[in-house]
């Protein structure tokens, strides 16, 4: 394995990591503050990507597409909150699972109905197309760097918001002790809506940013949703810091594992079984990591709740 390949894979891992963070952040907040398990968070990411493709097609500008798609994703998220999720906040987790599962079925099929089952693509904005030379023999696509940077910026902004604003304080308090916050006379419904809308927008943003490098297709949110679950479980539910750290760890472990595990296994076994076992083991890595973390710390690395 060469240094160039290693650097490329680390960057790819970071990119997956920030992507996971953007999705996991909303999920962990919604979870921590409202005790609401939202499986439909993944389809909101998918919807962001589809909306970006649509608005790009209408306006011909990536930036306009981005802004419009963000607003539309927010509006749709709030509509969902109003029509469905609101009725399920104080219900059993199982009811929440079933209802949000229904939303997934509906939306996955819905985008097929509207945009067709074939994958769509979104061109990379002109300004950021092409590659940049990072070191000898290493060309890296600019857009991927933009994705990483925007994810990191979003992370810092989010951290600032949660750590230093009034709403952020309420969110932190809510994640620790929700009944207490409502006892303080805060309009908990409005707080929920703000948190929910914000989470939706982050997921939508993630979808928009990766639309130029992934194919936009029905079901694209499902896999990433599970990864985001792994992230927030490892990080500790309700913790932004935990989500950020865990997202980067999961992104790196998954990416590096997939690219190098066969080589590593060949150090200890014959090439042919290594090629068979490697991929299987690589796809298990992050789950093994999660199992390990939970075995040692059943509430994740940075549990927000004091129980």
């Amino acid at each position: 394995m060469s240094t160039t390949l290693l650097v490329v894979q680390i960057l790819n891992g970071l990119q997956l990591g920030v992507l996971l963070f953007l999705i996991a952040a909303g999920l962990t907040l919604v979870f921590g503050v409202m005790d609401f398990i939202n499986l439909a968070h993944g389809v909101q990411y998918m919807l962001g990507a589809y909306l970006a493709v649509m608005f790009y097609g209408l306006t011909g500008s990536f930036l306009a597409g981005l802004v419009l798609a963000l607003l539309a994703a927010l509006a749709f998220g709030l509509l969902l909150e109003f029509a469905v999720f609101r009725h399920l906040y104080d219900r059993d987790h199982l009811d929440q699972v079933i209802a949000t599962f229904g939303v997934i079925l509906f939306l996955n099929q819905g985008v097929k109905l509207v945009w067709g089952a074939a994958p769509l693509t979104l061109p990379i904005p002109e300004l950021f197309s092409g590659s940049v030379r990072l070191m000898d023999g290493l060309l890296y696509p600019v857009w991927r760097l933009v994705v990483i940077a925007s994810g990191l910026v979003a992370g810092v902004l989010l951290y600032g918001l949660v750590a230093h604003t009034r709403v952020g304080m309420l969110v932190r308090a809510g994640a620790t002790d929700a009944p207490m916050v409502s006892a303080l006379g805060v309009d908990i419904r409005r707080l929920f809506m703000i948190v929910f809308g914000f989470g939706t927008m982050l997921a939508g943003f993630a979808g928009i940013m990766v639309a130029p490098i992934l194919s936009v297709e029905p079901g694209m949110g499902d896999t990433i949703l599970i990864l985001a679950f792994v992230v927030i479980v490892i990080g500790g539910i309700g913790s932004i810091r935990g989500a950020f750290l865990a997202a980067l760890i999961v992104g790196l472990v998954d990416t590096l594992g997939r690219s190098f595990i066969v080589d590593i296994l060949r150090l200890v076994m014959a090439p042919s079984p290594a090629r068979t076992v490697g991929p299987a083991l690589a796809s298990m890595l992050i789950y093994l990591l999660m199992a390990l973390v939970l075995y040692v710390r059943p509430t994740g690395l940075f549990p927000a709740k004091g129980r």
């Binding site: 987790h93 079933i98 939303v103 509906f106 099929q109 819905g110 299987a280 075995y295």
Partner: protein, 317 residues
Amino acid sequence: MAGRAAGRLLPLLIFAAFAATPLVAAATGDSFIVSLGIRVMIFAIAALALDLLVGYGALVSFGHAAFIGLGAYAVGILSAHGIADALVALPVALAVSGLFALATGIVCLRTKGVYFIMITLAFGQMAFFTASSLAPYGGDDGLTIRARSLVAGFPLFADDRAFFYVVLGFLLATYLACRAVVASRFGRVFRGSRENAVRMATLGFNVYRFQLAAYVIAGVIGGLSGFLLANATEFVSPAYMSWQRSGELLIMIIFGGLGSLDGAIIGTAAFLLLEQWLSGFTEHWKVIFGPLLVLVAVFARGGIVGLAGRLKELIRG
């Protein structure tokens, strides 16, 4: 008492309906009902196991499809190596899914509530992706099985109708076993830990061990269902253990009403027949089915069995 009598009447009706299905098929010449019936019964076996966990133990497992997949892959992989006898494949299927349940249960059961939901989901995905990366056994595309398992060398499963009654036998055995477990000393402790785990601990019960045992039992039954599914379809694929499938299993038991073994079977039948019926109208049937689920979650507590109970009370006044 009326309740007691109804408690015996409902399962009799259910199993009589299943037993009559091949006869109806023969009378109407519609052999499709037989394979649909086999499918319903196989998933009903898995649903019974899941209801044991969710309905009686409040352990919301979102990775139950993994056990079905493991059972199915045991049949597929053994058959790919020329071992096609159920006397080998069935014990292997049960052992593999039981061991997976034990290994993952040790970790999962250390967590509670929503963590438990997500970690079982994650382990389910782990099994899914592992199966997808098994290139020698078809990878993503799955694996076709040459023929149904033999039983001690005899092609007992080959005929659809015979296989139907074999599956029915397994369903009945699973149903009776689950009923016995729920009512047993073990089941009483397990049910008690759902209602008040702290109380159970201060009575002297190590709740974790009971939950782990129940988790393994449910895993083994899931493996049985997978063994039968592989034989029914003569095909195995990672899709058997997708998380959507785990979600569907949860929906089945919610349809029927949690904590009712009769309900688990009825719910499975309702789910699969509804799916069959809706997909007859349009390929986009999920656009109808999704919102239906939302309505079930928001309004229909207690599922079909619960609704029937409420209806009965209404009639009685």
